[in-house]
Amino acid sequence: MKTSTLLGKLVILAVAAVLTAGCTPSAPVTTTVAQTEGITEAPAEAAGASIILSTTTSTQDSGLLDAILPDFTAKTGIEVKVVAVGTGAALKNGEDGNCDVVLVHARSDEEAFVADGFGLERFDVMYNDFVLLGPVGDPAGLKADHQDDAAAALKALSESKTVFVSRGDDSGTHKKELEIWAEAGIEPAGEWYVEAGQGMGPVLTMANEMKAYTMTDRATYLAMKADLDLEIVVAGDEGLLNQYGVIAVNPDISENINAEGALAFVDWILSAETQSLIGEYGIEAFGEPLFFPNAIKR
């Protein structure tokens, strides 16, 4: 008796495991259903009841979205369902028609996304910057020698084989890190190069535990700073700037796409009011803004 129920559970678990691995991320699947309902229930209502925003973990984990999205919902009556994943997966969600709008930070990928017909038009929204972190005291001495030269700093780490924790998850931050390695002319590999395959938060915890160096967006670092024995060792390099773009997904991809809701979102996030909301976020909690709005006035 006991065994058979257990067996049943295990089979269900196993099947569920494969289903989640086989499909696109499970969250959009469930939300698509809700969205379809919204459309069929209220066809007259222009924008529909909700949109799905596929974005990077940084906008979610930094608390920015929680701070600004209620304003959008208050103004338009449209609920935003946020799917926070890596930039690669966020764009993929758009390609598969599993979301209505994307807010990500990998410019060349975004431009390709539009060029390939998956997105309508790309707009700059805001930027933040990446920083290199090291253990307090900076044992590798990056601060002294390469304070504003990220490529030279990474090169120094690779030469001294100092432990560096990489996101290793194909996220926007990971791609940025790889760009800088490429700029330094190094293909990082070896015991000292730790490929975590996790989000920014877990990677910061890991670097903290290992007394290692890592690269992060400033927002996540500021949000977690209190619990970390890590300090900024390299910042301000032009190559460390991180531009976010917003793109409405091309409604031709799928009939489930809420195009009007998506365009309303794009208009809203580019509006002067929202832009100042973005610029104010973080000042109260961290003493400095986390994102710098730079949408071009339309």
């Binding site: 089979v11 691995a21 086989g22 991320p25 490929e195 877990p202 903290n208 535990e209």
Partner: protein
């Protein structure tokens, strides 16, 4: 739909070509979970047998506790082990965080109550005759424990295998304490999670299929073992 079709095609290519990283991840999964369950069985099975026949005040309370521990959520185990092994934690000086050893510890904690709970339940329900026989033979505590273990070997193996299937399929604890580090602590479940989030569905499906085959293999073993077990007893 093409995502799924492409994914499966890629997955089969990976499996057929015996992709090195994929195989390494599979062996790491097996090593970690087998070690954890091995340790849990080594300690848990004799412990359960001993607890069956020893005078135990508050037996009800003990049974309730073990029964509840059998459903410890893996993320909670991960959190506890992480906090214990982290640099600032009580056992931080051991330097075990983000190692395979930490993952084995977490899965040991996960599987020990399962091994103890299932095997204790089995021997407590069906062990009366064996224990009466043991008393007539004048057996001491150690002898009684050994007799129980010998008599119920197939059922005990079953409880270990059940624990193994739970261990190999869990992602919460190994993700937290192992950190999913490539070439070091990345196992089937954490690799599937990562590849899914990267949109690398081919690799995710390949690893998922391997995990399925392992899980089904284990369940088949449970099926046959329990079948044989029943035959022996009638």
């Amino acid at each position: 739909m093409s995502v799924i079709a492409d994914g499966f095609q890629q997955a089969f290519q990976l499996i057929v070509s015996g992709d090195g990283e994929m195989l390494a991840i599979m062996f790491r999964s097996l090593t970690v979970s087998l070690s954890a369950v091995g340790l849990a069985s080594l300690i848990g099975l004799p412990l359960a047998a001993w607890l069956c026949h020893v005078r135990l005040p508050g037996r009800r309370a003990f049974e309730l506790i073990v029964f509840n521990l059998m459903s410890l959520p893996t993320v909670v185990i991960g959190l506890i082990v992480m906090l214990t092994l982290s640099r600032s934690g009580p056992l931080g000086s051991l330097g075990l965080i983000y190692t395979a050893k930490a993952m084995i510890i977490a899965q040991f904690i996960l599987t020990l109550p399962i091994v103890v709970g299932l095997s204790y339940d089995l021997m407590r329900r069906n062990g009366k005759r064996v224990l009466e026989l043991a008393v007539t033979l004048g057996a001491g505590s150690g002898k009684k424990t050994r007799l129980l273990l010998r008599e119920f070997t197939p059922g005990l193996a079953l409880s270990s295998i059940t624990a193994f299937s739970r261990a190999i399929a869990e992602v919460g604890a190994v993700m937290i304490v192992g950190g999913n580090i490539r070439h070091h602590t990345r196992v089937l479940t954490t690799a599937i999670t990562l590849n899914n989030s990267m949109g690398e569905y081919g690799m995710a499906i390949a690893l998922g299929l391997i995990l399925l085959v392992l899980a089904f293999g284990v369940n088949s073993a449970i099926y046959f073992l329990s079948g044989k077990h029943r035959e022996n007893r009638t």
